[in-house]
């Protein structure tokens, strides 16, 4: 939809809504830069002195506990599961959109239905499986779980992206006797790439912020950043600046990745959005 000129009230409304919705994040960043005593004053001191004390605490200035292992664990869990999701969802979506399976919507429903297991109730059986297979506190188990967590939505999104690939190009590839891998790489990928990138970013964000599985299934070795964060939220009040600093650092990778890739994200998601 093209807009020839922006209507003034829309602009005002956008500024108002944008500021309102960004406020919690701004407040979090501001608090992270205050000292603990300023962060807990009444009224909230917006003009208080800025300090990096909270960040120093987060990086273990006094406790000596480094946040890097959990951050790296989060990175491996998010990136590893995103790669696996792509490897599994592209062929599945290809089968559902390009080589149409009869009753494909039932297959999609099956994929989606696995998302309906409430994590809280499902965590005990999953814990028992992990215990039984010796995979407790193992980052690979988390990678597999995040893969299955994101797979349904990835297949669903990807199916509509792949439907954008012209049928004639696929037929030509088939006549030339191209294998699945060649077809995917040479014909499908160029068209569907923005969609694949958008799906990856979405899966990355969901894995990066996942807490419940990580909390129950990991310990000292494989603990992720959100688990590390909850260890900061021990008591209220004087630790607020530290908690906000931790949350800001943990949010930063997603924020930076998302903001720099927002055009790609939109371009990708708009593939196959309208049929």
């Amino acid at each position: 939809m093209t807009t020839k000129q922006a209507w003034r009230p829309w602009g005002v409304l956008a500024w108002f809504a944008g500021i309102l919705f960004v406020l919690p994040v701004l407040w979090m960043v501001l608090t992270s830069l205050h000292s603990e005593s300023d962060a807990a004053t009444n009224p909230p001191s917006i003009a208080a002195k800025l300090t990096f004390q909270g960040y120093a605490e987060f990086f273990g200035a006094t406790t000596g506990v480094s946040p890097w292992p959990p951050l790296l664990n989060s990175a491996s869990a998010s990136i590893g599961s995103t790669v696996l999701v792509l490897l599994l969802s592209v062929p599945a979506a290809y089968a559902l959109s390009i080589k149409p399976v009869r009753k494909w919507s039932d297959v999609l429903f099956f994929f989606l239905s696995t998302k309906m297991l409430p994590v809280v109730a499902g965590i005990l059986p999953i814990y028992l499986v992990a215990q039984y297979t010796g995979m407790l506190d193992n980052i690979w188990f988390l990678i597999l779980l995040y893969t299955s967590m994101n797979l349904p939505i990835a297949v669903w999104l990807m199916r509509s992206f792949l439907a954008e690939v012209p049928k004639e190009m696929l037929e030509a590839a088939a006549i030339d006797g191209a294998s699945l891998v060649t077809t995917l790489r040479k014909v499908v990928a160029p068209v569907a790439m923005p969609g694949i990138a958008a799906t990856s970013l979405i899966c990355f964000i969901f894995s990066w912020n996942e807490l419940l599985f990580a909390r129950v299934l990991t310990g000292v070795v494989a603990g992720t950043a959100p688990v590390f964060l909850t260890s900061f939220v021990t008591s209220q009040g004087l630790f607020l600046a530290k908690v906000c600093a931790a949350a800001t650092v943990i949010s930063l990778p997603v924020l930076v990745a998302g903001f720099t890739a927002q055009d790609k994200l939109v371009q990708g998601l708009s593939l196959g959005a309208v049929k």
Binding site: M1, A6, W10, A14, W15, A17, G18, L20, F21, L23, P24, V25, M28, T31, P43, L88, P91, A95, L96, K99, V101, R102, K103, F109, S113, M116, L117, P118, V119, V120, A121, G122, L124, P125, I126, L128, V129, T147, S148, S160, I202, I205, N209, L212, L229, V233, V243, A247, I250, S251, L252, V254, L255, G258, V266, Q267, L269, S270, A273, V274
Partner: protein, 295 residues
């Protein structure tokens, strides 16, 4: 079964890996969940110190005859419905807004969306709790409501948590719908305008039908998320509110399973939730299919 043509067999082969991973990692736990819900399964059974005691449908009977369960179920459905509606309305409104403004306010809207999306739920809930703190909070300061507690009254607390849930989940809806609106060819909208269609009419008859596949995805996603809200209620109402007034099913299941070590009962709640979600989605998809296009 699916056709046995060469294509059909190939398609099956492409679907199999994804399906196997899902069955292995989620199907098996669901099976275990159902199994555990038939037993008296407590701490001793988890550690293997006591034999299993088969209850059959005992846990379900106990659950269905408990008036608290029905209260919590009604609360969960109402709460989830409000959250889904709020998320869709806010997400759609901001998506439309983003298509209508210049680059700078649009960047601000995207920054707000990505900020909300990037903030870990625990941190987001904690920050909101402090923003709305009775004595120290910025919100009470601005509104002149010092001393007013947002988490004491049951409905006010539900409202606050719902607002937080909407704030957490509007970004996915906004970004997806924004992309969808961008993908609508300009000529379609212009043609409608040339035919003299009003703006609401254009939205209803041209834009909404085109966006339908996307709306279905975001609606189902939101329903699944909001029916299973856990972190926000747990953090913001201190584990279920004053006298459990803010319990939703997921937190209730957690209380039964982990706090009370009644894993069998907790599993039964989980099974009930899964069945309700499955039923809702199946009916919704069927209704959509009956009313026209596939999905």
């Amino acid at each position: 079964m699916i056709g046995i043509s060469r294509d059909g067999r190939a398609a099956l082969a492409y679907l199999a890996p994804a399906a196997l991973v899902l069955i292995g990692l989620l199907g098996y736990p669901i099976y275990q969940l159902v199994l555990i819900s038939f037993y008296d399964y407590g701490q001793e059974q988890v550690s293997g110190g006591a034999p299993l005691n088969w209850l059959g449908l005992g846990n379900y009977a106990k659950l269905l005859s408990d008036s608290q369960f029905w209260t919590v179920l009604a609360q969960t459905v109402g709460f989830a419905a409000c959250c889904v509606l709020g998320t869709l309305l806010v997400g759609a409104a901001l998506a439309v807004l983003a298509t209508r403004v210049r680059a700078v306010p649009r960047a601000l809207l995207f920054l707000a969306a990505l900020g909300a999306w990037a903030t870990p739920t625990v941190a987001g809930s904690t920050v909101w709790l402090f923003l709305f703190d009775a004595n120290f909070g910025l919100v009470n300061e601005v509104l002149g409501l010092q001393g007013f507690s947002w988490t004491y009254d049951r409905w006010v607390a539900f409202g606050l948590v719902a607002a937080q849930v909407v704030w957490c989940s509007f970004p996915f809806v906004m970004v997806t719908l924004y992309a969808g609106i961008k993908a609508i060819p300009g000529e379609v909208v212009e043609a409608a305008a040339l035919d003299g269609a009003s703006v609401p009419r254009t939205v209803r008859s041209v834009i909404l039908p085109l966006l339908r596949p996307l709306l279905v995805v975001v609606t189902i996603q939101s329903v699944i998320w909001d029916f299973k809200v856990f972190t926000q209620i747990y953090v913001m109402t201190g584990g279920g509110g004053v006298a459990g007034g803010n319990l939703v099913l997921n937190v209730y299941a957690y209380q039964q399973a982990f706090a009370a070590s009644e894993y069998g009962l907790g599993s039964a709640i989980g099974v009930v939730m899964t069945v309700l979600l499955l039923g809702f989605t199946a009916i919704y998809l069927r209704a959509l299919r009956r009313s026209g296009e596939a999905l």
